[in-house]
Assembly symmetry: C2
Homo-oligomer: 216 residues x 2
């Protein structure tokens, strides 16, 4: 009865192959950005297109598999920052800094993670698919952060709802500011982190008006 052992070996072999393919794809994406073609990836892996399709279904499948790896890594780094035993403000700053450091260190990966949802709507359903534009990564981060907030912060009634809103809002803030910063590099990472934390800490509400016209 060699069946089970044989099947098992085959399975692990397939998994190893899959990982090899993913690593090849990773290299190509790192080089060519998110518009890396299936042809290029196949070439890098030393094989041809149909094999990729056998393993991942379609381009979206490959990209999703690729994105999951990086997203998981980023998420676990963020969780570490979020779980540090310190003051809330410090933890918030550490989380912001972790995210910004990650996108700073590997902008190509970051760019890839933000993109791959161009596939849009193959949905033949009628009605408007209102079309979530945001990258899955941001969605996931937002949900995750919302969960953390609702678990740890006392927000009174409707805390669940509020926490989710804040989770997505904060993630969006972090992302947009980070994206802009990455392009123009107008200041140090520390300063960016401090300014964003200040914003979350209500400094906008406290600041006084400037003379002339209505104060924002």
């Amino acid at each position: 009865m060699e069946t089970t052992r044989g099947a098992e070996r085959q399975r692990t072999a397939a998994e190893r192959r899959r990982r090899e393919l993913l690593e090849a794809a990773d290299r190509v994406v790192l080089r060519d950005g998110p518009q890396a073609s299936m042809n290029a990836i196949a070439a890098e892996a030393g094989i041809t297109k149909p094999i990729l399709y056998r393993h991942f279904g379609d381009k979206g499948g490959l990209y999703r598999a690729l994105a999951k790896r990086h997203t998981d890594a980023l998420l676990s780094a963020l969780r570490a920052a979020l779980d540090a035993p310190s003051e809330r403000r410090e933890r918030v700053e550490a989380t912001l800094d972790t995210y910004l450091a990650a996108i700073e260190a590997r902008p190509q990966v970051y760019r890839f993670l933000m993109h791959p949802s161009d596939d849009a709507a193959p949905s033949p359903e009628q009605g408007f698919d209102v079309g979530r534009h945001s990258a899955p990564l941001l969605r996931r981060l937002g949900e995750e952060l919302g969960k953390v907030i609702s678990e740890r912060v006392d927000l009174g009634p409707d805390s669940e709802q509020t926490a989710r809103i804040w989770g997505h809002g904060i993630v969006g803030m972090m992302h947009a500011a980070g994206d802009w910063w990455l392009g123009d590099r107008p200041c140090s990472r520390e300063q960016l982190v401090r300014s964003l934390a200040d914003l979350l800490w209500g400094r906008l509400a406290e600041a006084g008006d400037l003379p002339g016209g209505p104060g924002f």
Copy 2:
């Protein structure tokens, strides 16, 4: 000497044509989303592709022209909310609400505005184009809001820098929260606006810890 008058007439005629084409493109994008093809747009306009290319250069050109119209419209609506003669908190809420109302009213347009930068980097420059992913719309809103803040709010030293950071951060927050909300519709627009304003007003800093584990 009929030259100048003739040339002028030609020019205005060309401009009218261009506007007609843009309006046709608009209809198609409204119907098909951001992946509207040049063929489809040409068909809608009752002509063929090469004419589109003569007018707009390439797809990016057309999309940029299209986006500019909508962006300008949205921006002027936001400016109105930002210039209302009321308390700062009210103005902030009005601005958030204006944005959310706009994306709620015309999600297809919104989706289109968020997308069109897939063209990525045809830059033959070496080194990494760090790759700004954000839609031009968000960039513009962020800059604009940063300007408004730095003009009107007293932020002490480094106010310019801080204001820009906040501008981009707030816009990102608004966008991410709005995008998520538009997809899941977990609450009313009013509640969303109030929660986001609360976040900007420092309620995260004020809230108490919940028992068990570190408080975010």
